[in-house]
């Protein structure tokens, strides 16, 4: 398993480079926007990847609430964190794209606005995880994740109706895309999905190690009464 990691890592790197080449060189230049449109090949796959990761978080949270397996809790944490990272990329590349095209940094464009709300919901999830004491964190976090995920359709619906009442410039244009552009888009999506998987795997390994170390500390404090007071106070302060 561990040997697979560097091999897949290198393959992912190769795929990302190929996707970069596709997006910057092979794909045709867009007529109205010019080369700025190529931001699309990073912006959109990042959004799709973030949504998938948040969906994984939803599944893992439900699984945890039902079966209470620690692995599910770790998957939930990892997918939320990496999802927020990709979501941040979307929120940064969106305005960078909007500025030259529309002259403004932020448009209350439907997709960008929904992504912002999604980012806020999962950031609040990460805050809850870091602020609650370790015993009950998995259950509280999983509950919040369920509520957050259920909120998502409402977010999209409400913003969609709001936008139809108050139209704004749409990032990325509305219409259909040329097949050669679609090809580059899909390759970038595949590359970023693999990359997201590798990042999640790394974060997963880190979390497993972290929990092992914490457990080791806890075991230590049970075995050594002289240092146990110090350990107890340390753990209490953490909680």
């Amino acid at each position: 398993m561990k040997k697979l990691f560097p091999i897949l890592g290198i393959l992912t790197g190769v795929l990302l480079s190929y996707a970069l080449y596709q997006g910057l060189v092979v794909a045709p230049t867009e007529q109205t926007m010019g080369n700025v449109q190529r931001i699309f090949y990073y912006h959109v796959p990042s959004a799709w990847t973030a949504f998938i990761l948040f969906f994984v978080n939803f599944g893992a949270s439900i699984s945890y609430l039902i079966k209470r397996k620690p692995a599910a809790d770790i998957v939930a944490l990892v997918s939320a964190e990496v999802g927020v990272v990709f979501c941040t990329v979307v929120l940064i590349t969106g305005p960078i794209w909007a500025r030259p095209v529309w002259g403004i940094w932020w448009t209350w464009d439907m997709r960008l606005t929904s992504t912002l709300v999604l980012w806020l919901i999962y950031m609040s999830y990460l805050f809850l995880r870091s602020f609650s004491s370790s015993g009950e964190t998995p259950v509280l976090a999983a509950s919040l994740a369920v509520l957050g995920a259920l909120c998502v359709p409402f977010v999209y619906f409400s913003i969609w109706f709001f936008r139809t009442q108050h139209p704004q410039p749409v990032i990325g244009g509305g219409g259909s895309i040329a097949p050669s552009m679609l090809h580059a888009l899909l390759i970038n999506w595949l590359a970023f999905s693999c990359f997201a998987f590798m990042v999640c795997w790394s974060r997963y390994r880190l979390e497993v190690l972290q929990r092992e170390v914490e457990q080791a500390h806890a075991m230590r404090s049970l075995e050594e009464p002289s240092t146990s007071m110090r350990e107890e106070r340390y753990l209490e302060r953490k909680a």
Partner: protein, 224 residues
């Protein structure tokens, strides 16, 4: 009195009685509501035409602040008296307790809103072009949305560090679609437009979140 509805009623009456007895809390909340409206009036010039157009938004932001302060208050008192632990060991179903809490908070926040609304109307010279009953319905549905999620998150944040800031941190993002709907509905009704989509949206939101919070409250109450 072991039937769930009996427990709900008993808990609710107890909560309301305690609120009524702690007059300090009520008086300070009332004064807080007045302050919020006055500060808003200085921030958003009531004589400007634009302010009347955004009145719907102003009112709901004011209500949101009042709700957060009220929610933090009610759970803080519970925590001081270790009531949460008592809930956990009691045989009463968690759903009855949750319902009682939500109803109590709903009544409390509604009272505050009932005080702030006439002030807003007077300060901003508001007139409603749409039917008033729709405004009342919107306010009730909107308040319920804030209170049901707020009570749930308040119970969650009690166990965290920095619990006062945790509540708004958790409540605001998830409430965004509801807030958008409340504000749009209120603005539409004030301007005489149709608010049907938004009212249906809040009603659906209320239904979904009330159900899920009821289902999950027992889980979070008994977490570790």
């Amino acid at each position: 009195m072991s039937a769930p509805s009996g427990i709900t009623r008993a808990t609710l009456i107890k909560d309301l009685r305690m609120e009524w007895r702690s007059k300090d809390a009520i008086n300070s909340m009332l004064f807080f509501s007045l302050l919020v409206v006055v500060v808003f009036s200085f921030s958003f010039d009531p004589t400007a035409e634009e302010s009347r157009q955004i009145a719907g938004g102003l009112i709901w932001v004011a209500f949101l602040f009042a709700a957060v302060v009220a929610l933090n208050q009610t759970w803080a008192r519970e925590l001081r008296n270790q009531v949460l632990d008592a809930y956990r060991v009691s045989p009463a179903p968690a759903t009855s307790l949750f319902t009682a809490k939500v109803l109590g908070n709903f009544i409390f926040v509604s009272v505050l809103e009932a005080l702030m609304t006439p002030l807003f109307i007077v300060f901003y010279h508001l007139r409603s072009l749409g039917p008033a009953w729709q405004l009342l319905l919107t306010m009730m549905l909107g308040t319920w949305a804030l209170v049901v999620n707020g009570t749930f998150f308040a119970a969650m944040s009690i166990r965290t560090r920095s619990r006062e800031i945790m509540l708004p941190l958790l409540l605001f993002p998830i409430s965004i679609p509801a807030i958008l709907a409340m504000v749009q509905a209120t603005t539409a009704i004030l301007n005489g437009d149709s608010a049907r989509f938004w009212i249906v949206l809040i009603a659906t939101y209320d239904l979904v979140f009330t159900t899920v919070c009821l289902l999950l409250f027992d889980t979070i109450l008994n977490a570790e």
